[in-house]
Assembly symmetry: C2
Homo-oligomer: 334 residues x 2
DNA sequence: TCGATCCCGTGAAACGATTCATGGGTTAGG
DNA sequence: CCTAACCCATGAATCGTTTCACGGGATCGA
């Protein structure tokens, strides 16, 4: 038999209203009653029924998050930031991982919708935006982590143009003149943005520095190694003297290839990665990287959810957060 | 204004009971009514209120999972397996990440308890077991991923004794005679278990093979490198001819050290890691590793939850799943 | 002593879906 | 044509909490 407010009230000799007030920490209850109720709660092992609470009060305490890949530190760190922000309002963040399956993603979307979550933070490939928009009209806003996917929603994401500029500028500042930009496929918006930023930095040098694009089919360690090998096939004087890899994985692969051929890093070629994953600091030569402001993105996303709940769905906005350079030996030790 | 069963029923010209039956796919409704109701559902954008459903029916559709570290592929893969199993019963898995903070963990525990989740899958360090046990008496079972932490709960986990034996046996089979066991701190149960397994394998050789333990304070790449350096300080004839690292991270660090000193792998020293993380296949010499049966653990955990909900909390069990060897160049190429 | 004010506990209504006893309508058998 | 049997839509009761109008009792000033 379920222990409810009623049972607690009976044991404590008070009314259910009073028990509710005590359980929710409302200030209007005399100390004597508070104690009596708390004793009864303990004694009966009362656990508040969230379904009833949500039903009556019409509000949920959970912020939903749906991500494609649970192993991607980008998403998990965004989740951490979101969790921090949610905690301030006594809410929690619950994460569903779609593993890039549209069906699984749709199930999570429906589930959060039915739960009347406070809002959704979504990085999605699937075709769920119409449904999300329907939810939004019902008062559950969604915040996208991929910008520009759908104008109807707010979004928060890293400033990729700036990231590209920061990386190349750092290479220029450390004396590099022939820079390689390694990444692909170039249909990805993040990559074209970073390339724009990279060219911004180049164009400030009046032709003193060149940029060459090495397009890749993916951004894995193996592909990085292939790129490294390809670069090393060239005579040293026509090689780039710096490579800007669009993921740390690519950079690690490149580094492996250079290591294997005893090419000095950063002496002969310097390397920058992107993402600043944990591994970046533990490679044979610690890797300079661009750190994405993941926690801040998560925090911001939760704030936007709460703002939209307050101010109606009017305030749609697209926010970018600035990435930062994390300099390490792969570009610094001469 | 909220669109409820009532509004749908009014528009479709039927009763709420009928709408409920249609929405839940019950077979007792005539086709004509089904169509009318579905039209109305579409038209009004009806989304079922899970709070009301859960309140009345007394059952939830979510399996809760609480993990300490969102970036650990062990947990995320367990979550994937759990999600697969949950889907079979039309349930979903929602994950909360405690980031090793007791307070955050406790918040998730309370939240899932209040939600009357179907059950909890937990890898915990915190002091929450009494609370979990209280929930269990209320009908919400918990399954631990760390065995032996608390006898009151069922658990599923990898068979670490077997993992240790498999790894060492493979080294013996590939002709190694002086094996180093690298890991720590040795107060961790997983490690002592694996050491037991390792010694099992050794003891089958009648002293032909020796095992030396290199205890480490943690299991990071940096520590691995340190161990590698330490081994290389010895004269070659007293070095181990194989190292069994308790994580792939340790193994990668060791590999970096050996690479840097041009020691051949596996020619001079062969290496096995543990966990088979994505990186294991992409190191300079692809790393042989022990693969933990993570998806299966997740699947099993969900099955145990459902079993306990059926059969009362009587059936407490402790299950281990067999890990497998993933052979790669770091032990094979001579 | 009386009335005005506050304080604070009370208890019933309400949230929206599920469930099930009820009975209207139809079919089949005689 | 009548009854039994069956099918299936109905709608009211119900889940446990929150919320709020209500009023009993205490305090205070006059």
């Amino acid at each position: 038999m379920e222990v409810g407010l009623r049972e607690v009230a009976a044991l404590a000799g008070v009314s259910v209203g009073t028990v509710s007030n005590v359980v929710n920490g409302r200030a209007t209850v005399a100390q004597e009653y508070v104690d009596r109720v708390n004793d009864a709660v303990m004694q009966l092992g009362f656990v508040r029924n969230d379904a009833a609470r949500a039903l009556r009060s019409g509000t949920s305490r959970t912020v939903g998050m749906i991500i494609p890949d649970g192993n991607n530190p980008f998403y998990t760190s965004v989740a951490l930031g979101a969790s921090d922000a949610a905690t301030l309002n006594n809410n929690i963040v619950l994460v569903g991982t779609s593993h890039d399956e549209a069906e699984r993603e749709a199930r999570y979307v429906e589930a959060f919708g039915e739960q009347r979550a406070r809002g959704l933070i979504i990085a999605s490939a699937g075709n769920i935006h119409d449904r999300l928009h329907q939810f939004a009209r019902g008062g559950m806003p969604s915040i996208l982590l991929d910008p520009d996917v759908d104008e109807r929603f707010s979004s928060v994401g890293p400033d990729d143009v700036l990231g590209g500029r920061i990386g190349v500028q750092h290479l220029i500042d450390t004396g590099r003149r022939r820079i390689g930009f390694v990444g692909g496929p170039m249909r990805l918006r993040v990559l074209t943005d970073r390339l724009v930023g990279a060219n911004d930095a180049i164009s400030g040098t009046n032709g003193a520095v060149t940029l060459e694009v090495f397009e890749t089919p993916d951004r894995t360690v193996l592909t990085g190694r292939t790129i490294g090998e390809r670069v090393l096939k060239r005579p040293p004087e026509t090689r780039p003297d710096a490579l800007f890899a669009m993921t740390d994985l690519l950079a690690i692969g490149i580094l492996q290839a250079l290591d294997a051929h005893r090419v000095a890093v950063p002496g002969d070629i310097s390397i920058i990665g992107y993402d600043d994953i944990d591994f970046a600091s533990t490679t044979s030569v610690p890797l300079t990287s661009i750190r994405q402001p993941m926690e801040i993105i998560g925090r911001k996303a939760v704030e936007m959810i709460e703002a939209q709940r307050e101010g109606g769905s009017k305030k749609r906005e697209h926010i970018t957060i600035e990435p930062t350079l994390v300099p390490r030996d792969s570009t610094l030790r001469p």
